[in-house]
Amino acid sequence: MIRVPPSPSGRGASALSDILMSTQSRNRSFKDAFLSPGLGLKAAVLVLLTALVAAPLLKVFGATLAPGAWSAWSDVLASNLSRNLFWLPLANTMILGAGVATGCVLVGGFLAWLVVMTDVPFRRTIGLLATLPFMIPSFATALAWGSLFRNARVGGQIGFLEGLGFSVPDWLAWGMVPTLVVLMAHYYSLAFTVIAAALATVNSDLVEAAQMTGAGRRRIFLGIVLPVALPALVAGASLTFAGAVSNFAAPALLGLPVRMQTLATRLYGMIEIGQAERGYVLAILLILVSAFFLWAGNRVISGRRSYATITGKGGRSKRFALGTARLPLFVAAASICVLTTVVPVVILIASSLAPSSSALFSDWSLHYWIGASDPAIARGQAGIWNNPLILSATGVTVGLGVTVAFSASLVGLLVAFVLARFRSGFLSAAINQISFLPLLVPGIAFGAAYVALLGAPIGPLPALYGTFLLLVIAATAYLVPFAVQTGRAVIQQVSGDLDESARMTGAGFLRRLFAITVPLAIRGLSAGALIVFVKIVRDLSLVVLLFTPTMPLLSVLAYRYASDGFTQFANALTVVVLVISVAATLFANRLQAKSQPWLQS
């Protein structure tokens, strides 16, 4: 490469250097390729990601190759067990992934379009509500679904609707349909967040210019909006696909009574009963299967040219007028939001107070919240306020969420920056692939992998199992893709010109990062940190194996209560998780208020 000295002549020199640079890059020699600008940085990021992500996964792979573990491969793939162990769960998993991804992009995209680009009433409220379902743990939504739709298939415990006298068919109470709906209700806000962030960067100057030159809505949509939003649509689809295929709680709670298994529930079951090798094999297969879809999605994004559309963009002045459709579209959006946020929360709260789930609104009692231990109720479990374990779990959970929000965002920022600036080359491709890997790995398998990796001393380093540090490392690695994905859509649009100019004038990497990239990308970054915090606070599958009694976490305690049949305690704890998550979101929104031009009218 060449270095152009700082030039007082400004633009002219910069344009010249651009030409020089591009000529130079075309004639790049072998030596240049190895001394390419990002080499040191890329190598450092790759080493970091390898340690965080690849090492535990290689360990899992290695575990299936150990002598005596080999047969797990044939058990899973070619034996009389494989139909139930792999093929049927695979089919269910694919249906869930495809269904949820489609539904989430449609619903999330629809809401994002309404909030960002139209004059629908109560845009702010809809925008806020649409980000909330992601904070409700999917097992909470699943439990809420059960409280409503549970039918007599499993006898006694009927849900609220059957309690009211309606007859609920099996397909609506159990299995694929409820799992799809619950997962969509959970993940659509992820698609919304990503798509809304992208739509907000649509340059209104361009839109106005198009309108003035007579382009129709359809033309503007296809020519301006869609190209900008497409990476976000694909990112939203791939994120929700990955989320759905690795989700454990919803299919476990709603599928098991009709023996609907997914790869995630199968692999959890295998690991829980000590058949870890079979579980690992399933984890590897799940990774391979989903990797194909992410690879395809990635090709759509990275095959395109860059999207340098905002450097300092014009303010939004015009929104699409919805006209007569304004009210019906508002009602549709409001219904989606209410059904996926308010309704599950109301059910959660009611069932944390109601002694019986079939009569959610009768005989309310605060026992499950503040009661002292009473041998007659729930086997002497004291209310959650009187339980020291839960108080310490709250501290650990929040501490973990904050720590990981910082650590994951930092790693995510580094990765997104490197990927956006240095797209080509083997190292970038490797960084890209590795940073996505955790998405494909069900949390439970990732947790198991980390136990395998750090559960025993490595050389002079002590085993980290049971420590806060292990939770931080594993959670950071696991959530990096989310920090990368959300930051990435924005960081890609921070113009390369500014960075190039700064580099030409001799600014170092850190200087450029904090003087140019960070300020321009801060909205995406805080959204990423927010998602990471909320995800870790309400995460269950990752931490359920990493969790030890001396390091308690709220979500695991809630799940334990739920699986022990203490629904009220579980729901009370879930409400605590919700309050923390929602408070965090509101706080973050407040911080961000000044940089949300798309919400200003």
Binding site: V154, E272, I273, G274, G565
Partner: protein, 371 residues
């Protein structure tokens, strides 16, 4: 000076095993003095009733914090193995079922050690003292709703469960998620001869095995699944589904006999099916053990001593959570609960951990294949 310290260290190291021996023989009073210095004891328990034990223990022995942690036996076994591999010992006392796996994977590998409180050693059969101390006997047996079937259990023969009348109306917890249920399935296979006789008694013809099915026990499991066996996530789900009052023709299910104790609190009418051939399920021990590297050797022994009950007829506060109809004390001097069927009259099979361990995995694979 340095040499003195080294000699001292060697002496302490040499004395350690001897001290451990001594702790095993100490009386509860002597243990208490040492335990109060330790200040706490952590118990991994397979039953949520540990919450009540915690309260009673802390009332009986102020100054010692009992930290109870409730998890399934299956999960506990995995956790103990993982913690041992990481070189950490979180638990001091283990209260666990699933003896076939515990004995082979935890005791034989040296993760657990046996402790029989000297105070009650002569009140236990040998089988309940070794290889591990058994505190009580628990069950996974067929239960029905006695309010919906006032004339007695609707099942007289286990093979009834495979008939169209009970299609989709037999419940249990997924045997692959709860080891006790896999032990139950394994028992059907181990008792294949009895299962074959029962089949003949019901259908008046010898049993014919499907292709690839080895025994009558295997065939029963196959037929049960083909009759739309419903698998749930926890025993309380089974209890509620089977026992809830006000049901017309409720299902039956395999669960713990002792869960009857919650009938009044929960609005259930659970009752055991005992007049049934060849059996209603399994009886198995609830085991108590020390972790090999417990950091609180006195408090952990005191906790086990406490859990084994005092010298009253009902075992006192330590045993109170377990003095319920459906759990039988292993101590010969604690009387069985008056509301329960005496163990001698109870139809269930007694689990043989060693025999179960040999075929458990293959039965697990069969269940996996059928799901």
């Amino acid at each position: 000076m340095k040499r003195m310290m080294m000699i001292g260290a060697v002496l302490v190291a040499l004395a350690a095993p001897a001290m451990a021996q001594d702790v095993d023989t100490l009386s509860p009073e002597a243990l208490l003095t040492l335990a109060q210095k330790e200040g706490k004891v952590t118990v991994y328990s397979f039953t949520s009733r540990i919450a009540r034990v915690e309260k009673a223990f802390e009332e009986a022995y102020p100054g010692i914090d009992l930290i109870g942690f409730d998890m399934s036996s299956t999960e506990m076994i995995t956790r103990l193995r993982t913690e041992a591999a990481a070189g950490i010992t979180n638990a001091d006392v283990v209260y666990v079922s699933d003896a076939p796996v515990v004995l082979s994977d935890l005791l034989e590998t040296g993760l657990l050690k046996n402790y029989v409180p000297p105070r009650i050693a002569d009140k236990l059969d040998t089988a309940f003292k070794s290889p591990l101390l058994a505190q009580r006997l628990s069950t996974k047996v067929l239960m029905y709703n006695e309010a919906a079937y006032p004339n007695g259990a609707p099942i007289k023969n286990l093979w009834d469960l495979t008939t169209p009348e009970w299609k989709g109306k037999v419940l249990m917890v997924d045997p692959l998620q709860r080891g006790d249920y896999l032990d139950l399935m394994t028992e059907f296979v181990l008792r294949s001869d009895e299962m074959a006789k029962a089949y003949e008694a019901l259908f008046r013809k010898p049993i014919e095995l499907d292709d690839g099915v080895e025994t009558a026990g295997h065939q029963f499991i196959v037929d049960l699944f083909e009759n739309d066996l419903v698998l749930l996530a926890s025993t309380d789900d089974v209890n509620a589904a089977v026992g809830k009052l006000g049901q017309d023709q409720p299902p039956v299910g395999f669960t713990s006999y002792s869960d009857r104790r919650d009938n009044e609190d929960e609005g259930w009418a659970l009752q055991v099916v005992n007049d049934v051939v060849p059996s209603n399920g399994i009886v198995f021990p609830a085991l108590l053990a020390l972790t090999a590297d417990t950091k609180n050797p006195a408090a952990s022994r005191l906790a086990i001593d406490f859990l084994m009950g005092d010298d009253s007829e009902t075992g006192g506060p330590g045993y109170a959570p377990f003095y319920v109809a459906g759990d039988w004390p292993t101590r010969s001097d604690i009387k069985g609960h008056p509301d329960a069927i005496p163990l001698a009259d109870f139809k269930a099979w007694r689990v043989d951990p060693a025999a179960t361990a040999t075929i458990r995995k293959s039965v697990g694979d069969l269940v996996l294949q059928l799901q």
